[in-house]
C-alpha cells in the first residue's frame, strides 16, 4: 500500500512539476516578446 502511495505521488509530482515549468517558461517568453515588441515599435 505504501508503495502504491509512493508511486502515485511520484507520478503526480513529476507531471505537475513539468506543467509548472512549462507555464513559467511561457510566461517568461511572453514577457520577453512583449518587451521586445515595445522596443521595436518605439521611435
Amino acid at each position: 500500500m505504501n508503495y502504491l502511495f509512493l508511486a502515485t505521488s511520484v507520478v503526480w509530482v513529476l507531471i505537475a512539476g513539468y506543467v509548472v515549468i512549462l507555464g513559467k517558461r511561457q510566461k517568461k517568453l511572453q514577457k520577453e516578446i512583449f518587451q521586445l515588441e515595445e522596443w521595436n515599435s518605439e521611435q
Binding site: Y3, L22, Q30, E32
Partner: protein, 236 residues
C-alpha cells in the same frame, strides 16, 4: 487559424481533467485487487501507460527526424524537440514506477531486467538528444545534427533490448516469466479496461503537453527574430 488551435487546446484541456478523475476512480476504486500482488499491482496502470507514451514519444522523435532530413522544416524540428522533452518526463516516470514496482514485488530497487534497462538507456539517449539541441548555432544546423542523432538512437533501441534479453537469459534463467503484471492468472476484463483507459488518458496528456511545448518553442523563435530585428535597428 489561431482560434482553431486555441479551441483544440481548450477541448483537450476539458477532456483531460475529467478523464483524470475517471482514471483515478477506475484505478483505485473500480478495478479489482489482484490476488497475488495485492494493491501494489495498481502501480501497473501508471507504469504501462507512461511506458507506452515514452516509447511513442521516441518514435515521434524518430519520425520527425526523418522528415527533417528529407526536407528541413521548422515545424518538424519543433515537434521533435517538444516530443523528446516529454519523452524524458515519461521515461523518468516509467523508471521510477518500475523501480517501486520491483521493490514491492521482488524486494530489490533495481533488477537487470531487459525492459527496465532498455528504458534506462532510452532515457540516456533522450538526454543526449536534448544536449545536442542545446548547442548554439542556426536552427537548420541543429535540426540536421539532432535529426541524425535521433535516427541513430532509434536504430539502437531494439538492439539494446535484444542484447540485454539475451545477456539476462545467459546470466540467470528467466525468473519473472512473461508479462510483468499478471503473475497469477489471466487478466480480468475490469483490469484491461482500466489499463486501456490509463493508456488513453496519458496519451491525451502527451498530445496536450506536446502542443504546449510546440507553442513555447514557437515563442522562442519569435523572441529570436525580434531580437535580431532590434539588433539591426540599433545598428542602423
Amino acid at each position: 487559424m489561431k482560434e482553431v488551435s486555441s479551441l483544440i487546446d481548450r477541448i483537450l484541456f476539458y477532456a483531460l481533467v475529467p478523464s483524470f478523475f475517471i482514471l483515478l476512480y477506475l484505478i483505485f476504486i473500480w478495478s479489482p485487487v489482484e490476488k497475488v500482488m495485492g494493491v501494489t499491482q495498481k502501480i501497473f496502470y501508471f507504469h504501462v501507460g507512461s511506458a507506452w507514451v515514452a516509447f511513442l514519444a521516441f518514435f515521434v522523435v524518430g519520425y520527425y527526424s526523418v522528415r527533417n532530413l528529407i526536407k528541413p522544416n521548422m515545424k518538424h524540428f519543433i515537434f521533435a524537440g517538444a516530443s523528446a522533452e516529454i519523452g524524458v518526463l515519461f521515461t523518468t516516470i516509467t523508471l521510477i514506477t518500475g523501480m517501486i514496482w520491483g521493490r514491492a514485488s521482488w524486494n530489490t530497487w533495481w533488477s537487470w531486467e531487459p525492459r527496465l534497462v532498455t528504458t534506462l538507456i532510452l532515457w540516456f539517449i533522450y538526454v543526449a538528444y536534448l544536449f545536442i539541441r542545446k548547442m548554439d548555432g542556426s536552427w537548420e544546423k541543429i535540426a540536421k545534427l539532432s535529426s541524425v542523432f535521433g535516427i541513430i538512437g532509434c536504430l539502437n533501441v531494439p538492439i539494446v533490448f535484444m542484447a540485454i534479453r539475451w545477456w539476462n537469459s545467459k546470466l540467470h534463467p528467466i525468473v519473472f516469466g512473461e508479462g510483468k503484471g499478471q503473475s497469477g492468472g489471466g487478466i480480468e476484463p475490469e483490469m484491461l479496461i482500466t489499463l486501456l483507459f490509463s493508456v488513453f488518458t496519458i496519451s491525451l496528456l502527451y498530445v496536450f503537453l506536446m502542443r504546449k511545448g510546440a507553442e513555447i518553442e514557437r515563442m522562442r523563435v519569435i523572441v529570436r527574430n525580434q531580437k535580431n530585428k532590434l539588433m539591426n535597428k540599433l545598428a542602423s
